[in-house]
Subunit: 190 residues, 2 copies
DNA sequence: GCCTTTCTTGAGCGTTCGCTCAAGTATATA
DNA sequence: TATATACTTGAGCGAACGCTCAAGAAAGGC
């Protein structure tokens, strides 16, 4: 009996992710979302409930894709080569809304006010770090890196370097490709 | 003939820097500033002109102090030891409003909208990077690091690592001291 | 003590914010 | 075709935003 929505929910979430990713939480107004998603306020709130609820969905999508992408890369190249390739891939990716990590941007913007979305960003970053640690552990088991290293510590450093790289890649005064190459080179010395 | 202001301008700028640093541009309202600086709207606008003008002053103060601090450290320890010490000092500093870099936070928040303050943050970050490059150059001349390295490239990587470290240091799930130690250890292998 | 000059005060401007809701429209079922 | 059940629309709510300005208070120079 009912009527179907004129929009595709998953598409809208992906669109919202890109807008939030680029402009941040406070930098994105409902007017912006209504214009880009082509939804009037009523439809928007019927579909998602609130700006924050949509932001949470967008961030979840972002995090899931990030982990899936890393896993697929490891499937293709093996764990160490995947970790080495990722910095270059991020810098070279031209279709991203922005180079900086959406999770770190969210965390940096909202943590001081104790916003709930900052906590969710933190959770997603931990999942990503765990994914990195798994890859380091697998590389270690495969004998690709020395047994004296702690995979969790390597993962924390790697994630930190990646966050810095992605921030740097936003700047036109920085040669991000060089930094990416140097991060990858460091992994070969482990 | 005139009447003196009841406030100290430099103190207010330092206070504003800490508030902006912690909460960001959109995250800080005039109400917040009026409350913390104990200034009514009229006095505020007579003194600083606008929220953005005060933000620019705050960021300038932040950047000047950053370079001065690095220079003083190099004076005490020499260039390489200063670069090695800085990561640990940032992580251990307990009096900072927040660990993340104010310039990178500003840039990440406002760059996508083309805000003028993002451009100013960019300029200050370039100055900081130039300061790092100088120290690497001096370390190289002193024979502390190999002649095959490019000081500018080292500076870009170092700044990127530092930005990542400072973002990571905001998170309670990360052992930032370990990352800081690893960054310093990398400098010894140059 | 008076006058001039500046600083301080706070009510309130116009705008934008996230969001609500009642009325209208389209569609799957009976 | 009639009806029930969504979805769509857009005017507009109360609150918060950055900011203005006229009136009052304080302090140096004479």
């Amino acid at each position: 009996m009912p009527r179907k929505p004129a929009y595709n929910r998953d598409t809208l979430i992906a669109q919202a992710r890109d807008i939030f990713w680029r402009h941040g939480w406070a930098g994105t107004s409902l007017k912006d979302l209504e214009r880009e998603l082509k939804l009037k306020p009523g439809s928007f709130y019927a579909a998602f409930g609130s700006k924050d609820a949509l932001y949470a969905l967008a961030m979840e999508r972002y995090a899931q894709d990030g982990v899936a992408n890393m896993m697929a890369l490891a499937q293709d190249l093996g764990p160490l080569e995947a970790l080495k390739a990722q910095p270059r891939l991020v810098v070279e990716a031209s279709e991203l809304p922005t180079k900086a990590c959406m999770l770190s941007k969210t965390y940096a913007e909202l943590q001081a006010r104790g916003h709930e979305l900052a906590g969710q960003a933190r959770t997603h970053m931990i999942a990503m770090k765990t994914c990195f640690a798994d890859l380091f552990r697998r590389a270690q088991k495969a004998g690709e890196i020395g047994a004296e290293h702690d995979p969790v510590r390597l993962a924390a450093r790697y994630q930190s370097d990646l966050l810095g790289l992605r921030l740097s890649a936003e700047r036109d005064d920085v040669n991000a490709a060089e930094i990416a190459a140097d991060i990858a080179a460091d992994l070969d010395r482990l």
